[in-house]
Symmetry: C2
Subunit: 263 residues, 2 copies
Amino acid sequence: MRNVKLVMAYDGTDFCGWQTQPDAPSIQGTLATAIGRITGEKVLPQGSGRTDAGVHALAQVATFRSESRIPVANLVIALNDILPGSIRVLEACEVAADFHPRTAAKSKTYRYRLYRPAICPPFFARYVWHHPYPLHFETMQEAAARIEGEHDFTSFAAVDPEKPRGRREVEAGGKPGEYSSGTSNVRTIFSSIWRQEGDELMYEVRGSGFLHHMVRNLVGTFLLVGKGTIHPEDVIAILRARNRSLAGATVPARGLYLVNVEY
Amino acid sequence: MRNVKLVMAYDGTDFCGWQTQPDAPSIQGTLATAIGRITGEKVLPQGSGRTDAGVHALAQVATFRSESRIPVANLVIALNDILPGSIRVLEACEVAADFHPRTAAKSKTYRYRLYRPAICPPFFARYVWHHPYPLHFETMQEAAARIEGEHDFTSFAAVDPEKPRGRREVEAGGKPGEYSSGTSNVRTIFSSIWRQEGDELMYEVRGSGFLHHMVRNLVGTFLLVGKGTIHPEDVIAILRARNRSLAGATVPARGLYLVNVEY
């Protein structure tokens, strides 16, 4: 039985997210169907973590187990033949039987794209958040730097009362067991940077793991800083309060990209 | 009564084309609804010509008549507020009462994009035709140059027996009356050029007017040249034959852009 690792890019716009859901097209489900057509096996591919509806990926990592002997190079071609153009397999390779793309991940990198000019070209509408309003960029950069390091990110996590906290963490790509309680909202941010690139402001963050909606809530909070509603140093007070209601709004999914998973 | 001219960009993927159709979202119909919501008037905007389902525009020109006194700069903002992100109004201005965007057009420019690498990123899937197969580019450039000038393009026009020829010409953006019969398939091509740009081959053509499917059938024929199936000089023989069956296949709409309309 082989354990096959895939690196995938996808346009999340027309999917309900990574995870299979009844009656809605998911990345996981679409991939499972394509694998099934090639190998004849019923599999549920495992991802490095979920992405929400509308969130894109440049290099999501997934694995599936298969008895098939099809060479991995041919698998890439065959999968891309079957998958819709909005999902591409970039690479495939065989990995150790005990490799799991979520638990083996050391860190992940996300990017958020803000498009600044007054009119957003129709060809970008699915791939950026159009935000043409005045922003004080230097204070946003300052606020972003302040969240680097190890913090409890409860204030930036989705409040989702339907799900027990431990379970939500697993879904968000956290690593249960890494922290003492297994339900900790503590994460380490290795880098947190805003940069300007052409007509866009881009936020890029690399961390040990991310809670549900964490990147989108951080961006919403940095926008409060950029508008002057709060000060850069307030971000630390928001972190300490462990209170979602103090942070900014969740920005739209369409600007968010899972850029890379580091092992 | 004002005659208002709009310059518009759109992602044609999710539309049945420019022209209003029953039970399918069109650019024209979506624009008409947005104008109606702003002015309270029922209008049918006129375009410089139709674009087919899936064909994009960087600068389609449309006009509509209105009693509304709303300043044109405000109209751009108001329309973009209502329209989906896949349709953007780039400019609005008031023009002479007798200006019609189709009959006043002196020429139009179209572009076709071929994406060449083995894997097409999901974010390009709607905006290029993925064609990773070997092509002899110099012979395609040579063939493209040969169609410059005045020719009868019957061999490159869609065969659509349901519609009388004269009507089809009007729909395709031709100018009835410009040629003696009013049903002529003669057009003048001012420039016809293939160029390489990054990972893409781009065909750009400027002409007095274009028959239905003409650009896509030209590209399909240039690909036959690029594959070595026919020679560059065969393009002239195909033109002379006035026989659609001799030309190449119609390439997919998603790679085609109406780039500009010249007045």
